[in-house]
């Protein structure tokens, strides 16, 4: 028991590898939020009138809203006037035409993060859109993708070049009135990725966006929109990191997915924002709204590995509007030190024969608080809806918390809903068993945790699965339960 507690204390001492700051000139908007800031961002991006109007509508609505208090997380109120709503690396002249013209310092940053931006990264076979603070700095493999008819660019670029698509779909899944942070995002969103997969196309490679917060006192408000036309298929990956700073930074993103008839979207996230230090100083507030809509026979699958952020507040959801559509949610959320996570999903069954699966694995260590909050809703017309939910929690140490708040609302007799949850800890006997077979205690913990998360990791694309596994090992370094 003694040794047990000692190792728990050691556990807390793990390092955040991505905490460096890139020293680069950037131009930032003065902190403060008002219609001026909204107009500034819109003008900066040379946006059409309708988009500015939409932003302003969102902003006016936001002013009427109150910050939500229902999540099971504690943090001092955010002062929205102290945040700069726009920060971008300073451009030389007209800005880079291709990646070769991008500031080498930026490229170095991404190199350090292990994100291949250069064409030599062809070997990696993943197209990347790199977002640095409020701006997208470059997108790889554009030409190759264009051949297949796939549009993959930053959303600012899409507004300029494909306004009809953006106008048609923006805000259709997450309306600007949706919730406090989504409304704020609608008003001040800066950049993000835009993906359009034409009818009948299978996207030839994995698409990926890498988000990096660099500047201090800024908030990142990105907006991602993915449209999969009929019978198309796309797999999209998202990664995030930020420097170590003592103050909290706000990240409030919105992701909208539209899967038309027979389309399939697979969306994977490895979230590793700076989680703050052992005492809970600093770290990112990650308040994200992610939602997808499925038309007939469509499928949306969310996979997330959440290891970073001081506070995570995130519910990737699927609206199963079309008949026979499928929604999936696979999640691993890890909270260590003073981290808090309130995450889960919403599966809204509206069409007939719709199916959804929820697998959520929460790991709490240190003084981390981990909550699963999920909604399974079956509408009156959703005959034969089927849901299976499983949320398991693993506690490491006796100062952390694991909570489960499922909501189930059913209005159809033919629905079949199952929910299961368990809470367990890594037992001394399990560790002892591994020690006996010559495994270090740390390796044993990693093995047990990875086994616990196996069902989720299986859903990640291969490279990500490896990364996620390593990430978990790093985050758990020195920890034993």
């Amino acid at each position: 028991m003694r040794a047990d507690t000692d190792t728990i204390d050691e556990f807390v001492a793990s390092d955040y590898k991505y905490g460096f700051v890139t020293d680069i000139d950037s131009e930032s908007l003065e902190p403060g939020l008002g219609e001026d800031a909204v107009r500034f961002i819109s003008a900066k991006k040379n946006e059409p009138e309708w988009l500015l109007e939409w932003r302003l509508k969102a902003f006016r609505h936001w002013e009427k809203l109150e910050c939500p208090t229902w999540p099971h997380v504690k943090y001092p109120p955010v002062n929205f006037q102290d945040i700069s709503y726009y920060s971008a690396p300073k451009k030389k002249g007209d800005g880079p035409k291709s990646l070769d013209e991008v500031d080498p310092k930026l490229l170095e940053t991404y190199e350090k993060l292990g994100v291949p931006l250069h064409e030599r990264a062809r070997l990696a076979g993943v197209a990347v859109d790199a977002v640095f603070d409020s701006e997208s700095i470059g997108t790889t493999f554009k030409a190759d993708l264009a051949k297949a008819g796939v549009i993959f660019c930053s959303i600012s670029e899409a507004v300029q070049e494909h306004p009809e698509l953006v106008k048609k779909y923006l805000g259709t899944v997450v309306p600007y009135t949706d919730n406090f942070y989504a409304t704020l995002n609608s008003a001040v969103f800066s950049d993000g990725s835009f993906v359009y997969i034409p009818k009948g196309t299978r996207c030839p490679m994995e698409l990926s966006t890498y988000f990096r917060i660099n500047a201090a006192n800024t908030g990142q408000f990105e907006r991602t929109l993915i449209i999969a036309e009929e019978s198309s298929h796309v797999s999209y990956l998202e990664g995030c990191t930020a420097p170590m700073r003592d103050e909290n930074q706000l990240h409030a993103a919105v992701v909208e997915l539209v899967a038309l008839d027979n389309a399939e979207i697979k969306y994977s996230t490895v979230q590793n924002w700076y989680p703050g230090d052992e005492e809970g100083l600093g770290g990112i507030y990650n308040f994200v709204t992610k939602r997808g809509i499925c038309k007939t026979n469509a499928k949306i699958s969310w996979t997330q590995v959440e290891t970073g952020s001081a506070i995570t507040w995130k519910y990737p959801s699927v609206i199963l509007r079309g008949d026979n559509s499928i929604g999936e949610f696979y999640s691993v959320a890890l909270t260590n030190n003073m981290q808090q996570a309130d995450t889960g999903t919403k599966m809204v069954h509206l069409g007939k024969n719709t199916r959804s699966t929820i697998i959520s694995k929460g790991i709490s260590a240190g003084r981390g608080q981990n909550s699963y909050r999920g909604l399974v809703q079956v509408g009156k017309k959703a005959a034969n809806a089927r849901n299976f939910s499983q949320c398991d929690s693993l506690l490491i140490g006796d100062r952390c918390g694991a909570h489960t708040f499922p909501y189930i609302e059913v209005k159809n007799t033919t629905a079949n809903i199952e929910h299961e949850a368990t809470t367990s800890k890594i037992g001394e006997d399990q560790i002892f068993y591994c020690n006996q077979r010559g495994l270090e205690t740390q390796d044993a913990v990693n093995m047990i945790v990875n086994g616990f998360c196996k069902e989720v990791f299986r859903e990640l694309p291969m490279e990500f699965a490896m990364e996620a596994q390593k990430l978990l090992d790093v985050s758990l370094e020195g920890s034993v339960g």
Partner: protein, 434 residues
């Protein structure tokens, strides 16, 4: 708060009200505080997380007249003889519209240390367990309760017979409200069975607002069965606050069949090691009925077990709401907590809302929860049909078995058997099964 204004205009302020109260002076602070809390708070709305699925608007629109004196209409003893548990061999306390009726009650002489009485005759620490809850209906009860039962069992004593608390509503006018306050005290190693039943003789949209506080001592073993079968226009609000002692065993069974809207708040505090607490419930609803069970089981000490089992059968446009929260405090190691909520929907218009929640701050615990919502199993019905059983009987048998999972947990034989028969008959008389 328009309703309280109405109540005030027909009823004099609380002092005057208390003056006619038997136990006046000592209760005055409690009543005043309750009235103050009630006028501060408002009726909960669907925006309140704890009332998300239970709309009390129709209730808040009622005039809410506290019944200050028993309704004059004489109740014939025969009218009560065929109510459930009416023939049970028990000590019986009967309350009519919140007022004790000694004529209808029968209490045998009790051994030393056992008190079975109405509240008006005994002094107890009312409010000692219910304080701190912001439920406005409890505040209302604090201010306006008229009477209720007191059951006190001294150390090592046991109840010779079960105690049956029969609460009858005769309200003939919408908005007549009965506020009932019960007090249960079981000393060290005390034992007993308590049956609480609520029925209506009138059809009015009456309000019953019950608050029960129970202190269960170390090693005590108490079984408490609550049966609610009021008219389907009635509103039934109940709150139970229990504090359990070391190694105590406490079983609470809630059978909710009646009322247009019923809400049972159960607050269990397990502050000593070794407690075994079972919350067990069945709701069978039809028409526009809504039954809501809202419980918080707080594990504040190690080595306690708590089990919640709730089954619901929902027909027509009815709605069943289940909110269970298991809260495991830091240090409450070796907790074994379990909650299950199963719902059968018999109609496409019925709704089930379930929120089985776990909030855990200790690492060496076993906590599980499960919820299912679905329709009856066609294969099971077909199987019975192949054995020559007609569809209606097959469905009735399956439903009876589903309800039986709950009923069979009641340990008192006579009560269990009577309830079991009642469920079987209700399924035939009130649900379309073919």
């Amino acid at each position: 708060m328009s309703s309280i204004a109405t109540a005030n205009s027909t009823v004099t302020p609380v002092e005057a009200f208390v003056a006619i109260e038997q136990n006046g002076a000592t209760l005055l602070p409690l009543r005043k505080a309750g009235l103050a809390r009630f006028s501060e708070s408002d009726y909960p709305t669907l925006r309140d997380e704890d009332w998300r699925f239970t709309n009390v608007k129709p209730l808040s629109e009622l005039p809410f007249r506290p019944t200050l004196s028993p309704v004059s209409q004489a109740i014939l003893e025969e009218q009560l003889s065929d109510v459930i548990f009416g023939q049970l061999d028990a000590d019986r306390l009967v309350f009519v519209d919140g007022h004790f009726s000694s004529a209808l009650s029968q209490i045998a002489d009790q051994p030393n240390g056992v008190t079975i009485s109405n509240l008006a005759n005994v002094e107890v620490e009312l409010g000692s367990l219910s304080t701190g809850d912001d439920n406005p209906f409890v505040a209302l009860n604090d201010a306006f309760f008229t009477d209720g039962a007191v059951i006190q069992i001294a150390d090592g004593q046991r109840l010779a017979k079960p105690v049956h608390l029969l609460f009858v509503t005769t309200a003939s006018e919408d908005g007549d409200a009965a506020h009932i306050r019960n007090w249960i005290f079981a000393g060290t190693n005390a034992q007993g069975t308590i049956i609480e039943s609520h029925i209506s003789l009138g059809q009015a949209a009456s309000v019953t607002n019950v608050v029960t506080e129970s202190r269960i001592g170390d090693g005590a073993d108490i079984e408490h069965i609550k049966f609610q079968d009021q008219s389907n226009r009635a509103f039934h609000l109940a709150s139970l606050y229990s504090k359990l002692g070391r190694d105590a065993q406490y079983g609470f069974h809630s059978i909710a069949l009646g009322a247009r809207l019923s809400r049972n708040n159960l607050r269990m505090r397990l502050a000593q090691p070794g407690i075994e607490c079972v919350l067990n419930g069945l709701y069978m609803l039809r028409g526009q009925q809504l039954a809501d069970h809202h419980m918080i089981v707080e594990h504040a000490a190690p080595h306690c077990d708590s089990h919640e089992y709730f089954n619901g059968i929902l027909d027509d446009q009815s709605r069943g709401v289940f909110h269970g929260r298991i809260l495991v405090q830091p240090g409450a190691q070796k907790t074994d907590a379990k909650q299950t909520n199963k719902n059968l929907l018999l109609s496409d218009d019925a709704t089930a809302n379930t929120k089985p929640q776990l909030e855990i701050y200790a690492d060496d615990v076993k906590c599980t929860h499960g919820a299912t919502i679905g329709a009856m199993d066609d294969d099971a019905i077909f199987y019975l049909q192949t054995r020559g059983i007609d569809t209606a009987t097959a469905r009735r048998m399956l439903l009876h078995g589903f309800a039986g999972e709950i009923v069979e947990r009641i340990r008192h034989d006579a009560v269990r058997e009577e309830l079991d028969a009642l469920v079987w008959n209700r399924l035939e008389s009130e649900h379309k099964l073919d």
